[in-house]
């Protein structure tokens, strides 16, 4: 009998471990990583779909990026510049990105409901407004769960954060999909803790002690085999596979010239790491760029932030295209919200969710498309209003998934994407 595994209207997030580790008595949970079956060959690698999210944390201004309104009361000081798509203009703070416009689809009519950092982030990452009694998995967990991995042994759901520690700890962002699909964080792009063999342990000693450990386990398992002991011994094999691929996490192994193209700053390094990980076959990578929360001096801050973002983003699209990966990698540039068209008395823009923009590129996306419109000074959506649910459908459809299907946590159907929305067909290839 399935247990009701969620609490209504409580602050506690209540999908229990027991629930997502499956049927009664199944004690063999394999940890937080999405391990695909080994043996994925080159064919699979080619067909493999991946997702990269660039999250402009704090709330990027749509007016200083994808939907400029020069010469209006809200437009601010920057010009709109032409792009590689005739008729499409974006803000002059993105000159390199402008040359990539033929690869981009821009959605200019997003109303995301909540001008709050935390709620906005949940809304954008899950494609749903918060709902009492249930937590939905974020895009990364959904992608890691539904898309085949090209990197057996590596986690399927990674996020590169501006700072903080790295670790494979269990996070709640996979909700009922379970810790296997929860994100693994790489704080400042650092490799996870304890990934590297200690200096005083030689490869030979390491191999020898592993052999001895295996012998002990084999003897123990002869008469005491259980799902739990299997899970434990298997976790060492998994660890071994990740350790062997450890250099994937090491961005220093890139050609310095490539590193120069991405820019010698944190975001450049983080985006280069993202490319390495995607190239290695990781299903989903999210890179956060901080911080766009510009209540003061919006314009100066956007010069600085977008100045960091513009070049490596363009370099990344070029790299993915050069490697033949852009067709199979969905790239999304999003944020938890936009910023007010009204400029406040500190030359800042405040929180805003009613009419802002998101850009997409790569797998399944029609390059050069622009969907939706805001009013002349950007204070409202004028045409084709969408919310994060439409985007969530679009992301999944773009990588060849059917967003109208269900997950079945505890044998109860839960739609993968919000059934009240549908994919934005105009930007799908």
């Amino acid at each position: 009998m399935p247990r009701c595994d969620y609490a209504c209207r409580t602050a506690d997030h209540s999908v229990t471990r027991r629930g997502f580790l499956g049927a009664a008595g199944a004690t063999a949970a394999l940890g937080p990583l999405g391990f695909a079956a080994p043996g994925a060959g080159a064919e699979l690698a080619k067909a493999q779909k991946r997702v990269l999210v660039l999250f402009l944390s704090g709330g990027v201004s749509q007016l200083e990026t994808w939907d400029p309104k020069p010469n209006t009361d809200t437009g601010g000081p920057f010009k709109a510049i032409p792009t590689s798509v005739p008729g499409t203009h974006i803000c002059e703070l993105l000159p390199h990105t402008a040359k990539q416009a033929h690869r981009l689809a821009i959605v200019r009519s997003l109303n995301s409901v909540s001008p709050d950092h935390g709620i906005g982030q949940r809304i954008m990452m899950t494609g749903r407004p918060p709902e009492a009694g249930i937590e939905y998995p974020e895009l990364g967990a959904v992608a890691a769960r539904l898309l085949a991995s090209g990197a057996p042994g590596l986690p399927g759901h990674l996020q590169i954060l501006p700072k903080g520690g790295s670790g494979f700890g269990t996070k709640a962002d996979a909700a009922f999909l379970g810790p296997k699909y929860a994100s693994v964080s790489l704080g400042d792009g650092k490799p996870p803790a304890d990934l590297l063999r200690p200096k005083d342990l030689s490869p030979e000693s390491d191999a020898a002690r592993e052999e001895f450990r295996r012998k002990l386990n084999d003897r123990f398992a002869k008469s005491r085999k259980s799902a739990a002991t299997d899970a434990y011994t298997e976790s060492f094999d998994q660890a071994e596979r990740v350790v062997r691929q450890g250099e994937v996490f090491d961005v220093e192994r890139e050609d310095p010239k490539v590193a120069d193209r991405y820019g010698r700053h944190d975001l450049g390094r983080h985006l280069l790491l993202a490319r390495r990980l995607l190239e290695a076959g990781v299903t989903y990578v999210k890179v956060s760029h901080s911080n766009y929360d510009t209540h003061h001096e919006n314009f100066d801050f956007h010069i600085e932030q977008l100045g960091e973002f513009d070049r490596p983003f363009a370099a990344l699209l070029d790299d993915l295209a050069d490697r033949g990966m852009l067709d199979s990698t969905l790239v999304v540039v999003m944020s938890e919200m936009g910023r007010t068209p009204k400029i406040n008395d500190r030359y800042g823009r405040d929180h805003w969710s009613k009419a802002w923009s998101v850009a997409l590129a790569g797998a399944g996306i029609k390059g050069g498309a622009v969907v939706g419109k805001t009013t002349a000074n950007g204070t409202a959506v004028a045409d084709r209003e969408v919310y994060s649910g439409h985007l969530f459908h679009t992301y999944l459809a773009a990588v060849g998934l059917d967003p109208t299907k269900n997950f079945y946590p505890n044998e109860r159907p839960v739609p993968i994407a919000d059934p009240k929305a549908a994919a934005i067909r105009e930007i799908l290839a």
């Binding site: 009998m1 399935p2 247990r3 009701c4 969620y6 609490a7 209504c8 209207r9 409580t10 602050a11 506690d12 209540s14 229990t16 471990r17 027991r18 580790l21 199944a26 063999a28 949970a29 394999l30 940890g31 937080p32 670790g167 494979f168 700890g169 269990t170 996870p192 803790a193 304890d194 990934l195 590297l196 063999r197 200690p198 005083d200 342990l201 000693s205 020898a208 002690r209 592993e210 001895f212 450990r213 012998k215 002990l216 386990n217 003897r219 123990f220 008469s223 005491r224 259980s226 739990a228 002991t229 899970a231 434990y232 298997e234 976790s235 060492f236 998994q238 660890a239 990740v242 350790v243």
Partner: protein, 515 residues
């Protein structure tokens, strides 16, 4: 006083004639038609000594302790060891872990510090306070007196939020996870009712932290009025329901109605913590622990059974309902009744379980059993493997490394192996960060270093015995002794080689589980 002494004496005399542990074994044996042919033999001495130390003292035995037990030829040595361990400080420490995790489920400490809480539990376990008295104290303390405040941690650290507290009261003390019934009667479990949920919530409905949950030393204040109301989300007519405070189908309490103007001992006012003349919350403690509420003792013994045997008679321990019956219903009734008759004496219960053949059975499946497609874990034909808890692991690793005490690293192990806060730890998981921590983490290497250094001083022929006794609490097989000898012969650096051997034993499944 005299009466209770006489009663206790009568119970003791009765126990001497008809002790509980053989009755437990009889009930378990009756639970499978082929029990006599299929059940595993008793654990051997090495298996038993490791298991007893882990379960009753929270760590593995020292080499000297293992040797002493293995060499002891007296027939009563197992019962002797059980009593020795139950009287040791290790038992207190181990039961503090058990109570802490049972009650707080690894929530972050917010209102009562870990030190104060553990000290409170330590005193309770050291004095073997009756479980019902302990719970009564924890649920009735309002946290206002700094001296007794740690008792209120269960309520205070949940910020006395009505719904999380209601849910956990039911899960922890009544064995029933009725969270679903917050919004409607449970759709498939016929007796998890919304009225049961709100009957429990009604005890708390008038209480809140004062001055507010945001204040670190907040205490519990209570109003003299206010009732719960609830609407089923399934009810199209949206009918408002209410219920008096009630525990699990027990009688509703007749609430005294204080005279007008005398509703409060301390009346509500600005910056004043209100204390009513009649407190619903104080009623809760008595109602939950009342002998009439059989779910209380039933849940307590089921949780202690799960601690000792690796699974509850009702499994999961917070999932007691007619659709999920106990594996041995009569046994659960027997244990509950005897626990109440023995004045909710936890140590007595632990001792009785430890004395059973069921507890002392080998975890190695005999040939007849190994042939079966699957061995039903709830028949206790063979001892269940129990993963070491975070605390057990910290202490066992320290003992294996030659650093008994191990207290320094408990926090590290809790953070790594403690699981998600606010959830019962039902299933074993081995996450990659945990495995990398064991594999390459500097913390473990540091803890194990003294053992390697000590082993390095021994003559070659003594190393294998000492190594296996110190980490796995058993002597090596001939093959294993040869492997150790070969490794030593090949070694360029003797201490380094030994430190990797120690690691291999610690990282083995045999070490990770209490078997």
């Amino acid at each position: 006083m005299l009466l209770s002494v006489l009663l206790a004496a009568a119970v003791a005399a009765d126990d001497a004639r008809n002790p509980l542990h053989p009755r437990i074994d009889a009930a378990i044996a009756a639970g499978h038609p082929d029990f006599a042919t299929l059940a595993a033999p008793p654990a051997d001495d090495a298996e038993f000594v490791r298991r007893a130390y882990l379960d009753l003292a929270g760590t593995i035995p020292t080499v000297a302790e293992v040797r002493a037990f293995l060499d002891d030829k007296s027939p009563g040595k197992r019962a002797g060891l059980i009593d020795q361990l139950l009287a040791s400080p290790g038992y207190v420490r181990r039961m503090v872990w058990f109570l802490d995790v049972t009650l707080m489920e690894r929530r972050p400490d917010v209102k009562v510090t870990r030190t104060a809480w553990e000290e409170y539990l330590r005193a309770a376990v050291a004095n073997n306070r009756p479980y019902d008295a302990l719970v009564r104290e924890m649920l009735s303390n309002d946290g206002a007196d700094p001296k007794t405040r740690p008792a209120a941690k269960f309520l205070l650290d949940r910020n006395l939020e009505r719904d999380p507290v209601t849910r956990d009261l039911s899960r922890v003390f009544l064995g029933r996870d009725i969270r679903c019934a917050q919004c409607h009667d449970h759709p498939s479990i016929t007796d998890y009712k919304q009225a049961e949920y709100f009957g429990l919530a009604a005890f708390l409905n008038r209480s809140a932290l004062f001055p507010s949950a945001a204040v670190a030393n907040a205490a519990i204040g209570e109003k003299a009025d206010g009732d719960v109301t609830f609407v089923s989300v399934f009810d199209k007519d949206k009918k408002q329901n209410t219920t008096p405070p009630m525990v699990l189908g027990g009688k509703p309490f007749a609430e005294p109605k204080p005279e007008k103007g005398k509703e409060y001992k301390v009346a509500p006012a600005a910056n004043v913590r209100p204390v009513p003349t009649f407190s619903r919350r104080e009623l809760l403690a008595g109602a939950i622990t009342s002998p009439e509420n059989t779910a209380f003792a039933r849940t307590a013994v089921n949780r202690v059974w799960a601690m000792m045997l690796g699974r509850g008679l009702v499994e999961a321990v917070d999932w007691d309902h007619p659709g999920n019956p106990p594996s041995h219903p009569e046994l659960l009734d027997l244990l509950s009744a005897e626990f109440v008759r023995h004045n909710h004496d936890v140590k007595w219960l632990v001792r009785q379980i430890a004395l059973t053949r069921t507890y002392q059975r080998s975890s190695e499946a005999p040939a007849a059993l190994a042939k079966l497609e699957s061995v039903p874990a709830d028949r206790y034909l063979v001892a269940n493997l129990k993963p070491l808890t975070a605390e057990h692991l910290a202490f066992a690793v320290a003992q294996a490394g030659g650093q008994p005490g191990g207290a320094g690293s408990v926090g590290t192990f809790r953070a790594m192996f403690g699981g998600r806060p606010g959830e019962s730890q039902a299933d074993f998981t081995a996450t990659l960060d945990q495995t990398l921590f064991l594999k390459y983490g500097p913390a473990l290497r540091g803890v194990l270093a003294p053992r390697a250094a000590a082993l390095a001083k021994l003559p070659d022929e003594a190393v294998a015995d000492e190594l296996f006794l110190s980490v796995l609490s058993r002597r090596p097989t001939a093959d294993e002794a040869k492997d150790v000898a070969d490794a030593l012969r090949r070694a360029k650096d003797r201490t380094a080689a030994l430190s990797e051997l120690v690691w291999a034993l610690v990282a083995s499944a045999e070490f990770r589980f209490n078997h």
